[in-house]
Chain length 312, copies 4
């Protein structure tokens, strides 16, 4: 058995040093450090296809750059329509704001403010979105699957790939999947155009077409790794594809959902072993933590590892 | 201020009596009772269109009949592909089984058992599913939107509407939406057929087409009510449609997710007021409880209310 | 493997029938049913000493009668000072009230209302408490351990044992332990008297003296069973005593705390096996649920079992 | 409204820089940063008496040095007997070990290993404890209150104040309160000696005596601040004392417990305003996070603030 050593926090300490110290401790601290090691290894392993699944309103909460950083190592990206809508909103020059989760929602409604816990957004952002989709509907409507539709969005939006998830996925040709795209502001905007003129404004984006590509990547990968930020549809859609692999070789899950209520979001990674979604020999860890706290720590440590895996 | 009165549990007590007694108590007990009253009122209000959103593996956990019962009062049903897949699996004669959440997932994998917390399923169920989809692909592939596809499934599956959610939605013409259908066993089965012969086996189910109908129901409703079992995509898709209403007039949410991590699943109903998804004058309640515990209690009470709202 | 059967909720259904039906289902529903069976068996087993630990503000929430009912089968009762203070407050004729957890705490403070989630209490209840302790200090100060002090309280308070936990423990001579008694309104009241006249008003209640009795009961018991409502000090104090038994033979735990943060309150019962607090052959179940929801259901079923264990 | 700015994680970044960046983000990230600012301010405010409450098995999890660091700014320390027992165990040369939370508790029991989530301890540590208490019982038994008893323990244990919470509290004369001391290994050891020879080995530590001192500190303080790591008895005992202040002026709470189940551990700090335990004008924040993750981050930032409050 290996001794626990107390975490020592020093003035001027680096994030990577703190995470190293957490490796020696127990409970969640240990899990954070484990996750950083697994993520670093997974990112470094050239045979490994990395599947990143991101649920929750991560972009509004200020996690955009952390996702952009992780995309540098990502082979398949699955997320919710909400995250992509908020990415698009920021690309169009709009902002998210600090707010109070105890604010009066009635007051906010009167002031035209939408609330996501302690993050606020002006409802007027939808006007800019409408403009954008009016101008670009024709181009977008040509796409035959969701991935191409999202890449097209990334191509059309202003700004650069250092500031937009959609643009980066487009430019780096990172396959991006979002089966629930209809369930988002982007979906609403497309519906708005279609319903204005149902005869003329048609789309033809088949719901099943993307499956081919994600399953193919899983099927042909020598090794696979997963990072689930939140659960939801992104996790489940990746898990489904992994049934066609030998099971993921690396796994990280960050969620605050409970396993007892039986949903996929709160299910520990090991449950995936029974289904063949996780390889029994995999290195994996479940982190019970708000992702806006856990991910900056984990990524801070990952960035400090050199190419040979040592902490620089 | 109204006095708290201790709950009194009696031998032979009815569920409805217990819930009545919980109405007098505090904490979660009170919320359960509130939820039963709001649900009863919402079901009874003839002007109210009821939107039911069900996430989580509710069918495997034995909640099928409870959902079937609620469908009698439901105008719009939104759920995950997983629930529908498990409904289909049961329609084809397969079963779910009691299991231990601490079982070895490696052992289960060797025995061909898939685990969902303390519920087990034989992986071989997918063979029957394949047969079914092989025989019915042509019919299914004709559908142009997900709702019609699911109604068609309901039409084609064996059994009766007292035992199948899909069949009941088809027979009673309850609009059923599932934007993430690709993310499910049903999606996999469709993909399997398509990929066997991509030239010949094509589908043409547009991702955005269903939005028209759900938004139209919301838009034209005099009043609306929501019941969210879990959060996820079902809740969010209904919330999105409700932006086109005056905000829901009734609301029940049953979830164990945390609000602090900022996702839609854990957000309290009142957050929806800021967005205009919930009416500021609505009667609503958030129930923090495993739905497999809360729903039987709530529905047990709802069933006891007579048509004029009194407890019989 | 045993099949899951969907829960069927019927109009006029009894609580015991509902719990029977939950036994056939999965997730938390199954756990509720298991808990009722284990509790019934533990209460029926004449060789078994039952240790009941109750944390959380159960009395203010309206759980007093449920605790009183369970005391009929309890050999050792451990609780927090808060629960006993609120029991005493109710015995002195004061009340708890329904409130809104979103109320302005500043407003409540101005109105002299103390809040416990959605339960309110007038701060003026402390005046009656002071009167009571002024009149009875001399008697109370004679006690040499906490158990006797609490029995004395039970003897002195007005009312009858059908309405007071303290009185019932005194009258039925149920050993009642509360190591943290100083941390409660009762503690405050005693301190108030002592500090008025430190020379004259002295107590002499040794902190360790009660340990002898609880450990002795554990040590000499043929069999032991535990029911933990919440965790905290009550659970831990019982667990500690059980190290001197062969480990509990029956166990029920109802809590919403997480295991990942490593505290005793969220630790699953099986962790106790490593310490020898739980017998490896024990029948036990962890229920993840608000106790104000779970306990009425469980006890409702327990009451329906006849003496030979069959559901009547 | 202030804009959210995405967190940017850089290679070689300092913990304090990361926390600064989290200040610009939403959800829990923002709360961590807020907590570090409030803690720094509270520690710097010379008029403020700081009350630190620590529940949960923080010492076994490797949080000893973090607690030791915080004690430099603490005027009143309240904790569980468990934390002090594990502090003592480490002072006597014993260790805690890394373990797997999924290990077989039956196997661990056979090997004499006690488990606390993913932290293991040899049960044989109790032999060393017994030796220690045999040798020191007489000295310890002379104490008349728990605080003096714990200071005496700190005086008697080997090692230095840089490695022991008990020793540091003794040497720095930090008042340390632990109303539930009977509920701990320390309590067990005392009971063991007493029960060996009840006639000769007596203690006389009154349960109420410490209240005087903690309430006096609260009563006479110009300003007060609280930091609650976990809830439990430590939080509640401090809250109780604060009723005799003008309400805390600063507050930090780190817990993963739910508010809905109504216990003190999960209650948000603002609830204390209704009771007068928290000042309505206080700066306070609730952090929903495993303390072993949150505290190293918060303290890492606090250490970087210079004496004038700027980040160095």
């Amino acid at each position: 058995m290996k001794e626990i050593k107390p975490i020592r926090v020093e003035k001027g300490m680096k994030v990577s040093e703190l995470v190293e110290s957490m490796q020696e401790a127990g409970f969640g601290a240990k899990k954070i450090a484990e996750a950083s090691r697994i993520m670093a290894e997974m990112f470094r392993d050239e045979e490994c296809k990395v599947f990143l699944g991101v649920a929750g309103a991560m972009v509004p909460a200020g996690m955009k750059h952390i996702i952009l950083d992780m995309l540098d190592y990502t082979d398949v990206f699955v997320t919710t329509g909400a995250n992509l809508t908020h990415d698009l909103i920021e690309s169009l020059g709009e902002k998210h704001y600090h707010g109070d989760e105890l604010a009066s929602d009635l007051e906010l409604n009167r002031e035209g403010i939408d609330r996501m816990y302690n993050v606020f957004m002006k409802n007027s952002v939808y006007e800019g979105l409408e403009e954008f989709f009016k101008g670009n509907f024709r181009e977008l409507a040509k796409c035959s699957n969701i991935k191409n539709f999202l890449w097209k969005l990334g191509e059309l939006i202003p700004g650069n790939s250092g500031e937009s998830i959609l643009k980066k996925c487009y430019e780096k040709k990172i396959p991006i999947f979002c089966p629930g795209i209809a369930d988002s502001g982007i979906g609403l905007m497309m519906w708005g155009r279609i319903s204005e003129n149902p005869e003329k404004n048609k789309t033809n984006i088949d719901v099943f077409e993307d499956m081919n590509e994600i399953i193919d990547i899983s099927w042909t990968a020598k090794k696979t790794g997963v990072a689930y930020i939140g659960g939801g549809l992104p996790k489940n859609f990746i898990q489904q594809a992994l049934q066609f692999s030998k099971g993921a070789d690396y796994g990280i899950q960050i969620t605050t959902d409970r396993p007892e209520s039986g949903g996929s979001s709160g299910a520990p990674l090991r449950e995936g072993i029974s289904w063949g979604k996780m390889n029994p020999k995999a290195r994996f860890v479940d982190v019970f933590c708000d992702a806006t706290i856990a991910l900056p720590l984990i990524l801070g440590a990952v960035k400090s590892y050199s190419d040979d895996g040592n902490n620089e």
